[in-house]
């Protein structure tokens, strides 16, 4: 068993090898072989991770509680090697495996394997399918490396690689402008968070001299260091711990799509559905939560100031995400906002001190959210083959895809896609928190934590978000799977997403279709659904709050949660109310062109929720406009000032060259020529005196003598 632990480096390496092989060898043109290679390698990683989990579980050592009342379990393995000499010390890199890492590794690899297999079915026939597999393998490698990282720097490097993969994968269908823009938006928005995180890391490094995880001397959780940063204050009047924690939390706000920086996640649904499932539901967005979980002692070190902010943002995100999801029609966007809302739950749970509850919810959420996304992928894949929607493809490919994803065009899929229906229902019940599904136990633990520690406002907000979750999910579930199939006369959704007109539906309608036929369901897409559905059902057993349960708490070295009957009852009642509202609400969808009942009753509220509370428009009007103005300003400076200066200099040089040329030509060339010509002419002139005749020469001699004589006689 310890073999798995000793060679834990294999777990991120195998997907990395898969990436390298597919990208750099002729394998990149052989789609099927590349896909199966990627699936095989990630499956081996998954098995290795499970083996590692068993190994870690057999040797859990709990740590005595720290003053803050919270402590990680002792790490099962720390492997480090020297990486960078920095003056008198050396910065090391390596792995740090403690129980939460082992659990995350198992979750990520299992989910990733399921999604790899699903992608084989979903992306079949795509010309760049092999490239897709190389990217998701790289992403898996990065996520696993991040989980195993033993210091914040390696963590950050893997975090950035994940951001890159997210960009590449969202923009995988790059010929579509919306996808390219969405990829950029995701990258830049998360980058803002990453800058804050980097600042936090730099700050921490200057104080601690190291970024390594651990409780020993010289590592960042050392008790006296934590106490030091918790009490000293910096120039802003906050303690070091608060500042570092809030800066690191900035990274979480970006990556985990918390309130101000959540805008990238719904747009990221432009990527193919396996991407949405893997990155934007189960793993990458959970990385932000994992960051806070990993560096939790720092958050606890300042006595609660940073955690208050964390709770505030988490709760705000939870309720905002749930509200916006109420008014969306795209199946994937509803799930995207649901993810934002659930991440808000996890972050809020961390804020109120429920580390265990947040990690548990992270685990269950990964499974059921991936399940829901994959289920929606299966549905979309089938919807795109419906003749009426396929016909739209010829006019406008984007509108065809959006129409295929619109829940108003679905309906009655329960009988057409039974496997998908049942698996999706498992996920749905887990998400809304019905006993005995996994989501109930994890959400209940969060609500109990809030209730028992008397965080009343958080409890109220999270409960309201839970109610809304039940409401919008039931609306979506019913509209998709029940009733008559509306896709034969679909509503065409154009890129501008504006509702053009309300259509009066003619005639009576039946609740059930006459003789629905089964649509074909690809086994490569169904098998992962079944696997994830089994987890969605049973994962609650990881941490049942009864005596004899608590497997996960024991594994992670935390105290056991107790079961509060009142909280559970209230949660179930709220979920029930949500379901009833959602069910009765969705009866109004008789055909694809009927309008949403909420839109009829409260049009302005609905409109603002449908337009996502205008956050995107606000950003576009403010920050984007500022960036544009700066760019325009620089371009003005560049063209008017720099370019003109350079042109002027060039012009001046040209004129100078002309002057030089004319001097050269006239003075130097023609002058010399004239001199030469003059010399020749004077020679010619003198030559006339040489006649060759003796008489002339004699005469000249005589004349010369006479002149000399005169000069001699009369002048001297």
């Amino acid at each position: 068993m310890t073999l798995f632990l000793q060679h834990a480096w294999l777990i991120p390496s195998l997907p990395l090898v898969s990436f390298l092989l597919i990208s750099c060898t002729p394998l990149r043109r052989k789609h099927i072989q590349a896909a199966w290679l990627a699936i095989a390698l990630i499956a081996i990683s998954a098995l290795w991770a499970i083996g590692l989990l068993v190994a870690v579980a057999s040797q859990v050592v709990q740590r005595p509680g720290e003053p803050s009342g919270f402590a990680f379990a002792e790490p099962a393995l720390i492997q480090r090697f020297d990486w960078l000499p920095t003056g008198s010390s050396t910065m090391q890199m390596g792995f740090y495996i403690d129980p939460i890492v082992a659990v995350m590794l198992a979750m990520v690899t299992i989910t990733s394997s399921a999604i790899h297999l699903f992608s084989l079915g979903y992306m079949a026939g795509h010309p760049r399918q092999a490239r897709f597999f190389s990217f998701i393998s790289l992403f898996s490698a990065a996520m696993l490396l991040m989980t195993l990282a033993d210091n914040l720097l390696l963590f950050f490097m893997a975090w950035e690689i994940m951001g890159l993969c997210s960009y590449l994968l969202i923009g995988f269908l790059y010929t579509r402008p919306q996808a390219a823009q969405a990829a950029l938006k995701a990258f830049i928005t998360t980058r803002i968070g990453d800058v804050l995180m980097l600042l936090g890391m730099v700050y921490l490094y200057t104080l601690a001299g190291s970024l390594a995880f651990g409780y020993r001397q010289g590592e960042i959780f050392a008790p006296d260091f934590l106490q030091q940063i918790g009490t000293e204050t910096n120039r802003l009047g906050l303690s070091h711990a608060t500042t570092i924690a809030l800066l690191l939390f900035g990274g979480t706000i970006g990556k985990s799509a918390q309130f101000p920086l959540h805008v990238w996640l719904p747009d990221a649904m432009e990527g193919p559905t396996p991407v949405s499932a893997l990155i934007h539901a189960a793993t990458m967005v959970a990385a932000g939560v994992f960051l806070v979980g990993r560096t939790y002692p720092i958050f606890l070190a300042d006595g609660g100031t940073a955690l208050a902010w964390v709770t505030f943002i988490g709760a705000l995100t939870a309720i905002v995400g749930a509200s916006i999801a109420v008014a969306q029609f795209d199946i994937k966007r509803i799930l995207a906002y649901s993810t934002i809302s659930q991440l808000g739950f996890m972050v809020a749970a961390l804020g109120i001190g429920g580390w265990m509850a947040a990690m548990f919810h992270l685990l269950t959420h990964a499974f059921f959210k991936a399940l829901l996304f994959l289920g929606s992928g299966s549905i979309i894949h089938a919807m795109e083959t419906v003749p009426a929607i396929h016909r739209i493809h010829h006019h406008d490919e984007y509108a065809a895809q959006q129409s295929a994803q619109d829940i108003r065009n679905m309906g009655g899929l329960r009988s057409r896609m039974p496997w998908t229906f049942w698996c999706y229902t498992m996920g749905y019940l887990a998400l809304i928190g019905i006993v005995p599904f996994s989501g109930f136990w994890s959400k209940d633990e969060i609500l109990t934590d809030a209730f028992v520690h008397q965080h009343w406002l958080s409890y109220a907000i999270l409960s309201a978000a839970a109610l809304l979750t039940a409401f919008y999910m039931t609306r979506q579930w019913r509209a998709t799977f029940f009733g008559a199939f509306r896709g034969d006369k679909p509503r065409v959704v154009t890129a501008s997403e504006s509702e053009s007109h309300m259509h009066e539906h003619e005639g009576a309608h039946a609740e059930s279709d006459p003789a629905p036929q089964r649509w074909p369901e690809d086994w490569r897409m169904i098998a992962p659904l079944v696997l994830l559905a089994s987890f969605a059902v049973t994962a609650g057993a990881f941490n049942l709050p009864f005596a004899g349960g608590h497997w996960l708490s024991d594994l992670l070295g935390q105290e056991h949660a107790s079961f509060n009957l009142l909280v559970a009852a209230i949660a179930l009642i709220l979920a029930g109310i949500g379901v009833w509202l959602g069910w009765s609400y969705a009866t109004a969808f008789s055909d694809a062109h009927s309008s949403d009942p909420l839109e009829v009753r409260a049009p302005s509220l609905f409109q603002s929720l449908n337009q996502r509370l205008y956050v995107d428009q606000f950003y576009r009007a403010s920050i984007v406009r500022l960036a544009h103005s700066l760019a325009t300003l620089w371009r003005w400076i560049d063209t008017r000032i720099f370019d003109r200066t350079l042109d002027g200099l060039g012009d001046l040089t040209l004129r100078f060259a002309h002057v030089n040329a004319s001097i050269d030509d006239r003075v130097l060339n023609d002058g010399s020529d004239a001199l030469a010509n003059g010399t020749v002419a004077s020679g010619d002139l003198i030559r006339r005196s040489e006649t060759g005749k003796i008489h002339d020469y004699l005469a000249m001699i005589f004349a010369g003598v006479v002149i000399l004589g005169v000069i001699y006689l009369y002048l001297f």
Partner: protein, 105 residues
């Protein structure tokens, strides 16, 4: 001896002779005639020298010696000149000084 002729008249004769000789050298086209003119000029100089000797320094014998030199040189020069005339005639078959102008230009 001084009352016979004064010095000026002898010098005038010498000068006249010289001018005739110069005219002959300059105006005659025949080469041999030019040589005759040159001989005349030389002899005019001889007369001049003798006159100066006789009238101014009769006891000083240098005047006569100088004249003897000039006569000898004139004879040699006439010989060389005639040899050149013969050479010119052999190559150009002409004795007109105007036509021997290959050094023209």
């Amino acid at each position: 001896m001084t009352q016979a002729v004064s010095l000026e008249y002898v010098l005038i004769v010498a000068a006249a002779l010289f001018c005739i000789g110069l005219f002959g050298a300059l105006a005659r086209r025949n080469l041999i005639s030019m040589l005759m003119g040159i001989e005349l000029m030389l002899n005019a100089v001889n007369i001049n020298l003798v006159a100066f000797w006789r009238y101014l320094e009769p006891s000083y014998v240098t005047g006569q010696v100088f004249v003897l030199f000039i006569i000898a040189v004139a004879a040699a020069e006439a010989a060389v000149g005639l040899a050149m005339v013969i050479a010119v005639y052999r190559s150009r078959t002409t004795l007109q000084a105007d036509e021997v102008d290959s050094l023209k230009g």
